[in-house]
Symmetry: C2
């Protein structure tokens, strides 16, 4: 074990259990690989509207979400453009930081109070590039993200605003209830006025 930073409080196997179950839905990871990962985690909490990742910075952390929701967005000439939401069981990280050693291009903020396990991107990179099981697990994470955005992009190209919203609401009912109208609108590529009118029926 060569954990490089963080763990001040250790995460118990019990606390980690839920994360483990979630991970195994993506790829069968052995107990020993999970134990290695667990040793690198530190529990943490954040209030609503806290920035976990910010553009132009390399904060060097990633988060396994246990409770709460986050939102990733770009700022494109002053406008926030929401690109994804993550909820319980999700892994929040900046690909730029994790793989390219760059500052993030996106922001990630908590939309609700969040409970999570933090890991340094160095540890996460070491584990997910050096261990076959975890490398495969991480590949599945990327695959899933790819499929989500691929689908979303397809819908963007083929469906009118109302149907995009309906598809979103059907696929992510929980997110749809918990997120602000404004953020959902920017995720769908429409204005909040339009989404408000759509919802008004």
């Amino acid at each position: 074990m060569t954990s490089s930073a963080l763990p001040t409080t250790t995460v118990s196997a019990e606390d980690f259990a839920e994360v483990a179950v979630g991970m195994r839905q993506a790829w069968p990871v052995s107990d020993s690989a999970l134990a290695e990962l667990r040793a690198c985690l530190a529990p943490c909490r954040f209030r609503k509207r806290h920035l976990l990742i910010r553009e132009g910075a390399a904060l060097g952390k990633a988060y396994f979400l246990n409770r709460g929701m986050t939102r990733s967005y770009w700022i494109v000439d002053g406008q926030e453009v929401t690109t994804s939401f993550s909820t319980e069981g999700g892994l929040v990280f900046s690909m730029d930081e994790l793989y390219y050693g760059l500052a993030s291009q996106e922001y990630v903020e908590t939309v609700e109070p969040v409970e999570a396990f933090a890991i340094t991107v160095d540890d996460l990179r070491r584990l997910t590039c050096g261990n076959l099981e975890l490398t495969n697990w991480m590949r599945v994470i990327h695959q899933n993200e790819y499929r989500r955005i691929h689908r979303s992009h397809k819908e963007q190209l083929t469906l009118p605003a109302r149907e995009r919203y309906e598809a979103f609401a059907a696929q992510f009912p929980s997110v749809c209830r918990r997120a602000r109208l404004t953020d959902i609108a920017s995720y769908l590529g429409i204005t909040s006025s339009t989404l408000s009118r759509i919802r008004a029926k």
Copy 2:
């Protein structure tokens, strides 16, 4: 070595050299891993407008492109929606087939005469899930695709048609010259009439 099908004609190290160079741009793969991969390849050629992958079918092959270009698309109520182009050095495959054992949801057709190395999806899956170097290499392939579509989606949400076209032309000048106007238009989510007018300046 447990190659499962295909190789009637073996691919020589010389013929494979170009592919190897391309692969190493994504991830440092050792000679031995590359040799294992090479043993599973079969050279092949296709005329223009040949369907390499078709919706609802599991043809069971993936292709390393040496020469020529392909186009991936969905058919959404009768309309073709182009989702990507692949050129020399690219790997063409259906994620549904490769990882989910499903029939493909997309079509991939050759846009030009194509020279490629074919591999069965079974071999590709075995190699890219079972060998740490190749698993990492494949993860980078997914990452890159993810970033492309992420960017493209962002542009879809923030730029007007003309600027999307300009960004596309700047990022993929070769594709922009080689692909039909119609296909580029559908990739950008605009009609061919609109793209024609944009080009007319």
